[in-house]
Amino acid sequence: MLAAIVLAVIAIGCVHSQTELTLPPLPYDYKAYEPVLSEKIMRLHHDKHFFTYMNKTNAALKAMFVDTKMDGKLKEIAKLPIEDILTQLQVLPDQYHLALRHNGGGYLNHRFFFSILKAPTATVAENKPTGDLLAAIEKSFGTFEKFHELFSAASVNLFGSGWVWLYVDARTNQLVLNFTANQDHPIMFDKNNYVVMGIDLWEHSYYPVYENRRAEYVDNFWRIVDWNVVGKIFTERPIKRSDL
C-alpha cells in the first residue's frame, strides 16, 4: 500500500507541463516613481501591458504544448525558462515563433525594465553608476557623459516602437549600445548577449505623462535608473574563461 502511494507521488511529481509565467509585482509602490512616471502610467504599464504580454505568452506556450501535430523534441522547449525559449525561436513553427517573439519578448523586457527602476533622484547629475560597471562604461564609451549622450540620442531617434539597450556583447565581451524593434531582446540575436540596462520607447511607456515629448521622458529616465541594481546585474554576468 505504502509502495503504491510512494509510486503515485513520484509519478505525479514527474508530470511536467509547459512553463507558466507569473506577474512579478513592482519592487516599489506604483506612486514611488512620481513625478517622472506617474502612478497612473505605472498601473497601466504593469497591470495592463505587462499583464497582457504574460497572458498571451502563456496561451502560446500552452497551445504549443498541447499541439498534437508538433514534434515532441520541439515541445520540450515550452518547458524551459522564458529566457531560454527566446534563444530558440528560429526552430519553432511560424505560428508559435511570432507569438513568442512578440509576447515572450514583451514579458521578458518588461520584467527586466521594472526591476531596474527606482524613485527619482532630484537631479540627473547625481544619479550615476560606480565601481566595475562605471569602469566598463568608461572603457567602452570614454566617459559616462559620452555614454549618456549616445544612449539618449539613440533613444530619441528610434523610430516607431522599440527599446534601446546597454548589454555585454557576446562576441567582444564589451559593453555595447544597441536598439531593437518592437519587443525584440538582444538574446534573440545571440544567447550570450547579456543585458544590463534598457529603456522602453513604446509610446505607452511615456504618453500619459509626456505625450509626444519623448526627449523629456528620456532626459528624466536618468533620474530613475537604479544603478545599484544595474551594477549587481553587471557584476553577476557570466565571466568568459580565457582558456576556452
Partner: protein, 265 residues
Amino acid sequence: MFVRICFLAVIISCIQAQIELTLPPLPYAYDAIEPVLSEHLMQLHHDKHLQTYTTGANKLLKRMYDDENSSNELKGLTNQSIEFILSHIQYLPEIYQVGLKQYGGGYLNHKLFFSTLQKPTATADENKPTGPLLKAIEKAFDSFDKFKQIFTDVSLEVFGSGWVWLYIDAYTKELNYSFASNQENPIMFNKNHITLLGIDLWEHAYYPVYENRRSEYVDNFWRIINWPFVSQLYTEGVAKQTDDIDKETDGIVKHTGGCPMHAGI
C-alpha cells in the same frame, strides 16, 4: 519610366528648389470627432505628431537638394509632390530612403487619415459606404461586414507601430488591404496603388482616450469614417488609367518650358 523621371527631373532642377510641405489644417474643428477621438487627442495628433513629420520631411528634402553629391535627377525629384517622391522611393539613395519613408510617409499618411474622418455617427452599424465603392468592397470581400471583420482583425493583430490600409490597384482596379509597419504606405510598394482609407495604429493615435484598449478604438473607428469622401477617392482612383499616370509626368515637363543647359537631351 525611369528615363522619363530623369528627363523631367533634369528639367525641373534647373528652375526650382525642393518642395516645401505645409501642415494641412484639419477639415473640421478639433472637437468635431468627440467623443470617439477627443479634442486633446486631435490637437496632439495634428499639431504635434503631424507637425513633426512635416518638419522632418522638409529637412530631409532640403538636405537631399543641397547635397552636392545629389545628381540633378535626384534634386529634380525633391521638387515633386510627396506622393510622387514616395511612389518612386526605390530610386533614392539608401541614406534618404529610410528617413523619407519615416517622415515623408508620416506626413502623407496623416494628411490622408485626417481627411477621411468625420463627426461620429451614433452607432458603427449605421455608417456604411454606398454606390460603386460598396460594390467594389462586396466584390473583393463578399460583403461589407466581412470586410469590416477582416480589417478589424488585422488592426488588432498589428504588433508595434503601424497602419492597416484599404487601397485600389490602378491596373487591376481591385480593392485590397495591407498592413504596414511604422509609416509605410501602399504607394511605396507599387506606384499604382491608390490608398483610400487607413487606420493609424500607433499608440499615440488612441492612447489619450483608450489607453491600452486598442479594440475599443478600432470598434469606434467605424463611426468616424467619412465614406462619401473615401468614395470620392475611389471614383478618382479607378478613373486613373495607367497611361494617365505617365501623362502627368509629361505634362509637368511641358509646363516648365525646359532649360537651355539641357537642350541637348
